[in-house]
Amino acid sequence: MSFDPVLRERLQQLLAAYGARVRVLIDGHGLGQYGIDPADIEQEVRIRLWRALERDRNAAFHTSFIQRVVLTTVIDAIRAANARPVEPLPEEGEFADPAFIEPGASPERIASGVEDFDRIIACMAELPERRRKAVALHLQGFSLREIGEFSGTSEEAARKLLDRGMEALRERLAVTGFGDTE
């Protein structure tokens, strides 16, 4: 199935512009650390969206459909880059084995980092669930507004949860002697 040449050119322009923006977003969010090439993602997203356009020539694409195409493409690429035997996902409160995480670091740094990280996790596990979740999302770099939206609360409520959670976490970490080695 083919489009009118003028329409075809216009659609390809739109997909090219979108692909370029996707590439910038992937670069900006540091997803290259997972072994993927943003240029490959850009190309694959354009191909998949073009195929979808050929299937549905009305081009009535919902926003979420386009998002899914990009996210699936990224996940597929990360899978391909990290193909290895299946390992169990850590349970709630557990995390990936830190010994595998930073292979370039010195053994001392790894040992120190692992020990500090274990303390953080242990102290976070003592927090009430809502505070723990707010703290974890904050440490992952999400803003108060995002934490509020994701948690279904207001930004102000998210700020209170985070403040109390971080205060409790610091107190617990201080008790364990966290940071004394640095």
Binding site: H29, Q33, I66, L71, F95, G113, G152, L173
Partner: protein, 181 residues
């Protein structure tokens, strides 16, 4: 250790080598829903994963960043297709115009079709007043019981009246032997 160091350490240890199972368990629909502000059991699970997995957190952040761009692309694609629709209709008109020299052929074909249709309609309308089916005409006539009783049932339908047979003798009163007396 101050707050930035704490966050840096946390992010460093929740990223790195990606576990295959973590990849398999990423729910794209939940990612999109959570980025859109929806809440369900799936999004709650994903939110918990985003707190303890850097990959999930990064994918959630990407899903959120993709939203305005994807909405814009969807609207632009729709506009492009809608804008091209009048051009397609115009192209249709021009192709019809290009086919004008073949108009007489189309007229003949249309007339023939009309004639056939008219004949069909006329035939249909005539069918109720048509002569009865020949079944009744060929139906054998039952022999008259009078002649049957006389034993002439072999060819009853062709039997002529006996009065016109050659054996008719006439009334004797008009015969030649009438003597006038």
């Amino acid at each position: 250790m101050n707050k930035p160091e704490l966050a840096r350490l946390y992010r460093r240890f929740t990223r790195g080598r990606v576990q295959a199972s973590a990849l398999q368990q990423i729910d794209v629909d939940a990612l999109v829903a959570l980025a859109d502000g929806d809440h369900s059991d799936q999004t709650e699970r994903l939110l918990a994963d985003a707190g303890r997995s850097g990959l999930h957190a990064d994918m959630l952040r990407l899903a959120r960043a993709l939203q305005p761009e994807s909405a814009r692309l969807g609207a632009e694609l729709e506009r492009a297709v809608e804008a091209s629709a009048p051009q397609h209709r115009g192209a249709g008109r021009s192709s019809r115009a290009a086919g004008l020299p073949r108009r007489p052929l189309r007229m003949v074909a249309a007339l023939a079709a009309s004639l056939i249709a008219a004949i069909a309609v006329w035939s249909f309308q005539q069918s109720p007043s048509a002569p009865p089916a020949p079944v009744a005409a060929v139906k054998p006539v039952l022999p008259d019981r009078i002649f049957a009783a006389l034993g002439d049932e072999a060819h009853p339908q062709h039997r002529s009246d006996a009065i016109f047979r050659g054996s008719f003798n006439g009334d004797k009163i008009f015969k030649g032997e009438f003597n006038g007396g």
